[in-house]
């Protein structure tokens, strides 16, 4: 369900036909992945978390949205991502998730749902729509002018373009908005997960595999990790609600962990190919 929300990237040029097929499949055939035997990287769990975070940054949260996220069907694949991490990292990430779940309870429990979500709605506007909070754009964090669509935005666009994709027309946010960047990662996580789950059945090109992983790795390293941790720090400093504090901690921690996972699987690629 989260995948549908984030597949807003459309293929601009068909440099690789299978790419398009994969993208269309991304996130739809999630169920098939459930039994998958994870060899290097868990695509679905990562995709679920990326798309959840993307949505949190994109728009106001509702009780429904968050409680849906914490359903077993989502948590299970997430767990298998966490098990791929070294124990210390795994525990830390797990704590982040638990903290967020608890803060969610705090934000809604004991109040009428409406009032609980009004607080969070107010906080969303305070944090993301007015300058009291943060500007969730890479351009602001890494650019010189502190304006939108500065150099970093051009670079993000160039990155997307280099792999043959561009933003969908329906997407209102610029390409370097945190929700769009996390959405990009979500899409590619699903893709890589998808492709891994079919690995034994459909002989997918090794190069494509490596490409998908490499793209995510590069995007994290060249873009998200360059500014999102700073954004998360700012959210932690500015938010008045444990929920967004929890989101920021989780995002920051998860991005670090994910880079680790991606690096690991790139190593595996290298070993395999060798």
């Amino acid at each position: 369900m989260y995948a549908l929300g984030v597949c807003f990237f459309s293929v601009a040029i068909s440099w690789i036909n299978t790419m398009k097929n994969l993208l269309e499949r991304g996130g739809i055939d999630i169920k098939k992945q459930e039994e998958e035997n994870q060899q290097w990287i868990q695509g679905k769990g990562r995709g679920i978390l990326y798309s959840f975070l993307s949505q949190i940054f994109r728009d106001e949260v509702s009780w429904q949205k968050v409680s849906d996220f914490f359903q077993e069907e989502n948590i299970k694949p997430l767990k298998s991502v966490i098990t791929q991490l070294p124990p210390e990292k795994a525990q830390h990430l797990w704590e982040c998730l638990n903290n967020l779940r608890e803060s969610m309870g705090g934000a809604f429990k004991g109040k009428e749902e409406e009032s609980g979500s009004l607080d969070l709605r107010r906080e969303f506007a305070y944090l993301f729509l007015t300058p009291h909070g943060v500007y969730p754009f890479e351009s602001i964090y890494l650019g010189k002018t502190k304006l939108l669509m500065d150099k970093p935005w051009e670079e993000v666009r160039a990155f997307y373009r280099s792999i043959g994709i561009k933003k969908d027309k329906k997407e209102m946010h610029p390409e370097d908005h945190i929700a769009v960047e996390l959405g990009f990662m979500a899409s590619f996580s699903y893709l890589s997960g998808d492709f891994l789950s079919y690995e034994s059945e459909e002989k997918i090109d090794e190069e494509e595999k490596e490409f998908l992983i490499q793209v995510q790795h590069d995007f994290l390293e060249q873009h998200l990790l360059k500014w999102a941790p700073g954004l998360c720090d700012d959210i932690m400093a500015k938010t008045r609600y444990p929920f967004y504090y929890g989101v920021a901690v989780l995002t920051k921690r998860f991005l670090e962990c994910d880079l680790f996972l991606l690096k690991e699987s790139i190593k595996m690629f290298t070993v395999k190919i060798d």
Binding site: L118, Y126, P131, T145, L147, M149, E154
Partner: protein
Amino acid sequence: MASSAAVAAGAAGNFLLSGCQPKEEKPVADDKPQRPLPAEPEVTATKFNVCNVCSANCAMFCDIVDGKVWRIRGNPDDQVCRGHLCVKGYSSYKMLYDPDRLKYPMKRTNPEKGPGVDPGWVKISWEEAFQLAGEKFNEAKEKYGPESIVFYTRPHDFAVRLAKAIGTPNLVRHHDTCYGSHEAVWRATVTGKGRPWMLDLYNAKYILSFGWDQPSKGKNMSAQGYIHALNNGAKAVVFNPMLTATAALASEWIPIKPGTDLAVCLAMINVIISEELYDKDFVEKYTEGIDQLKAAVQQYTPAWAEEISEVPAATIERVAREFATTKPAIVPNHKRDAGGPLYANSWRTSFAFVILNALVGSIDREGGVIFQRTPSLKPFDEVFPPLEFPKARKETIMGKEKFPVIGPTGKLGSVTMAEAILNEKPYPVKAMFVRKQNVLAVPDAPRFVEALKKLDFVAVADILPTEIVQMADVVFPEPHFLETSGMTERIYFAFYPQIALKDPVGDPLYETKGYGSIIIGIAKAMGLGEHFEGVSGGKLDDERLKALGSSMDELKASPNGLWSDQKPFKPKEEFGTASKKIEFYSTMLKEGGYDPMPTWQPKRDLPSNDYPFYLLVTRYAAHRMTESQNNELVMQVAPVNYATLNKAIAQQLGVKDGDEVMVESRVNKIKLKARVIEGIRPDCVSVEHGFGHWAKDLTRAFGVGANEGDLVPGFTVEEMIALKDPGATGCMSDVCVKVYKA
């Protein structure tokens, strides 16, 4: 590149350490091949648009590089801009990318309002925003009558129709702070309608300015015209208490005492008439009342004027003679000059400008003040015939019905608005719709904030989260002008009718809606949708163009984005007054109960022991009112405003350049850094307008400088009536101040 740098660095290391190295042995990057220059970006598209920073509406080309505005250029075929923009226009695109912009409709959840109070915004849908505004406006209408809803907006057909449909007569206008005095005077003495906008400085040979300072303000067509005239050998004489750029470039600067321009003008009129230097042909054919005028100004001798203005009588005489005998000559006027709404006597000064221009035959003649030749656009009500409107109450909060000259134009009310709301006179105001206006723009801004607090509901349409947005209950985010489409006629300089196309530079950022759609949305939510059946901005433009024998499609296809009807300029033979002539003795003023001829009257506030300085208000060329202080580019050129003082007086006060000083008037005080110069009268302190933003949401503008408007007293409609100003204007710098170290 890294390697060459390292090679060079290694070598330079030796160079530094040895300390004595002959030049030829400097083994630096001498032999390296030509180094590459940065690449010039490739323009991927060029769009036509019209600058909306100021009302000059210069036509421009927007060069787009890969989805982003890279450069804005002036359209060479546009009569106003002639291929060049001003500093404001060139930097306007930065506001498009301002992350502080309003992004979604929002509603307030914190009922408490005021500076520094977090409104507790919540993002809402457009639907919800319209519903909310509809409900609240209807509530005010039902409980307190339609007149309890006030529109504080700039003139716009859609908004006027909505106000009429609601049945409120209260459309408050800012012109009383802007050019109401000129408007009233031209209306009463020349046009029977509004004032002219076009100054044909290009052809002028003698430019006589009384506080007219458009070139310093970077106003495009006037700056270009002024410099063009000077290059062509025109003489410019500038009366201004401060040595502004206009004054500095002029042939002569005369540091006149503030608010005494009227005395000098009257004496000059006297000299020109008594020495019979005026254009007899023009005066005889096109004016009325020269004999009455002659009699009336006899008392105003240059010696008399010298005493008031400190301008030597001989200078007054000489300049008057030069002005009358060098043709074409012009007394330019636009907005905030000595005849603008600065002083209680400004309207009389404006009247004197009309007379001086008429005496030298410079009204609607080349090199003079010209009525812009605009296309006859089909009126809104003809394109979209209105339904019947409810009968609105006659009495308005602006006192429109009490000002016989300016009242019918509706161009008044912002100066007296705060008091009207606070005193509930003539009746309570409960709700307000605001667009493109700010708290800081009116006199005594803190008082206006109090008035806004008193209202039950305030809806604001804007681009940036300005001070008035902080006072709003619901905000409607509008697109930046570069994101909008449509067309604009040429007004500020038009020898012939010309229309410029607006074509958006790209997809809009954020969920904004155009002003027209916002008005229609509110109307529908109020159950008044039938008044806007089939109405749209696109259709209006298209119908208007069709009536001119063109169409939107044709305009879009034009190679320069312009529609022009280049008929030759024919000077007017008749004017719009009852006598069809320029009236030196104005019957409209007489009937309205005002002086029919300009007689001497001092400004309202004069220096005292308590408040010894005149306040002057100036403007940075780079800034547009209170709208541009969040612009990243503009703020690098003009980052803050100052209290500018004369060096000698600063020494007396113990103030050095850069020291913080307090400037205090009888209503408020502000803190500013001092700028100490020679080119200002010692009895004056000058402050640039536009600063002093208290909205924290304007991250670049917040807390920078101070608002000089805080120092200026506001007043009630009754006090305005007592001023006997046919323009009902705001005395925007008619106040005296004291200055001391902070």
